[in-house]
């Protein structure tokens, strides 16, 4: 046991020594490179294209931020390093400085502010239910006695359980590990409905064998904003990045980027801009 503890302790000490390093911008200036973490299967926010290059709505916005950093620091060139992350690794990767910014699709929750800071929100998702056509399910109210699936550990899961309890609906919940698996469970008839964010459901439906056999039903149960994560307590970096976002919002350039990826978008997600997102965008079109 003792040697094990020593190893753990030395690793922790070594990492806290790194914490003395300056804020994000000086690190970028020193290394002349920006590290962007991304999810490799979160279309259309970030995913790998056929050449294995990260692309997507979030990646496009991040490249604008990279341009602004390059200009602000007066660098001749700024190398961009992409770091793939998973739901479990995305926080430590930002916290320990491996990546400077996460350009993917992470929902903002209050608890998460204990570890990271967020930029202005760039998307708003609405949670819906995906069912087989002709299943007779028209919304959460008609799911009594049915089996539903949702991704384990997501904010959707929390919302679904709360809603079922509040409405007194007796539906069984089966957990899925990731989005393709949730869709597979629906396709194979293991579950009657897949509850998740509309943008995720559109994506998995578009990639399923028979997209026309499935439909999204019911009212949106809850909506939540997505935003990029940046290291905590680094106001200079955050301001620089938020400035870029506010510019994109007020110039209307965000609409072009949004249309490119979502409406209908190269991945066929087909989600027109929601009223919630347009309201956020006009609210965050801040004056200089």
């Amino acid at each position: 046991m003792k040697p094990l503890l020593l190893v753990v302790a030395s690793v922790l000490l070594a990492q806290s020594a790194n914490a003395q390093e300056g804020p994000t911008l000086s690190r970028i200036a020193d290394s002349k490179s920006l590290s962007i973490s991304y999810r490799d299967s979160a279309p259309p926010f970030s995913y790998l294209d056929s050449e294995g290059k990260p692309v997507g709505y979030s990646i496009d916005i991040c490249s604008k931020i990279a341009d602004a950093i390059k200009k602000e620091l007066g660098l001749d060139e700024l190398a961009i390093k992409y770091v793939p992350v998973t739901a479990q690794t995305r926080i430590p990767i930002i916290a320990n400085g491996t990546a400077d910014i996460e350009c993917a699709a992470t929902a903002i929750t209050l608890d998460r502010f204990r570890q990271v800071d967020y930029l202005f929100p760039t998307f708003v998702s609405n949670a819906r239910l995906l069912v087989k056509k002709g299943s007779g399910i028209t919304g959460l109210d008609s799911t009594a006695g049915k089996v539903l699936t949702t991704l384990a550990g997501t904010t959707s899961e929390r919302a679904l359980m709360a809603a079922l309890e509040e409405k007194g609906i007796d539906a069984k919940i089966v957990k899925s590990k990731d989005n393709p698996q949730g869709m597979l469970n629906l396709e194979q008839g293991r579950v009657d409905g897949f509850f998740s964010a509309d943008v995720i459901l559109s994506g998995v439906r578009a990639n399923s064998r028979n997209p026309d056999d499935y439909e999204m039903v019911g009212e949106s149960l809850f909506s939540e904003p997505y935003a990029f994560m940046v290291p905590r307590n680094d106001p200079d970096f955050r301001l620089l990045a938020n400035r870029v976002l506010a510019d994109l919002f007020s110039s209307g350039e965000i609409n072009t980027i949004y249309k490119k990826w979502f409406d209908p978008g190269v991945t066929k997600v087909n989600i027109p801009m929601s009223p919630e997102l347009s309201a956020l965008i006009s609210a965050y079109s801040l004056a200089k």
């Binding site: 914490a19 739901a87 926080i91 916290a95 384990a152 590990k177 698996q181 194979q188 008839g189 293991r190």
Partner: protein, 238 residues
Amino acid sequence: MNYNWNWGVLLEEPYPQWLLTGFLSTCFIAICAWAIAFTLATLVAVARTSESRFWRGTGTVYVEVLRNIPILVQIFIWFYVVPELLPTAWGDWVKRGMPYPQMTTAILALGFYTGAKLAEHFRAGIHAAGAGQRNAAKALGLNAFQTYRYILLPSAYRIVLPSMTSEFMGVFKNSALALTIGVVELTAQANQITEYTFQPLETFTVATLLYVFITLVIVSLMTWVEKRTRVAGSVTRT
């Protein structure tokens, strides 16, 4: 590192409860799978050392197929492919009717896989017990069942106890793969707590310690079994 350590978060409701249920699921899956594996492995090892060419062949095919396919792939095949190959009514029962479809599938898949690996240990044990023992049993007039039951298997189990311990630990660690089909065991609960709290380092440290705890318990248990079942004079200790 710009990380906010917060060990207290793991004591906030409902997280201790989650860790506990995850821990119990892991133990439940592993122990059930081990029971299946032990029974199967005994049967297969007997088949592989029997005098019948047919049974030897069947045993060999089982072992080679099951231990050569990665366990993750096997879990997916049992869960997603096999139900589709069954007649519709059966398939529907497997998917919906049977109690806890995910957990049941995971236990069976893990049991079959571990059984194949364990069977090889048992076979080695039976060989180590020696042809002399087998012939002596025959000479005494014992039939095949009696030979295995009273002579060969009791020796074989004792001989392979140390390597059995590794397989027993392996089944606990492999049980984490059950999360890939949606079973919420210890690792899955740790993932889930991470998503809720954004405190992955604390959560996974605790999960790791729980796994270490399990393996330490197994080591002590097996050491005790080894002492209890030792036949005087059969094993030389230095």
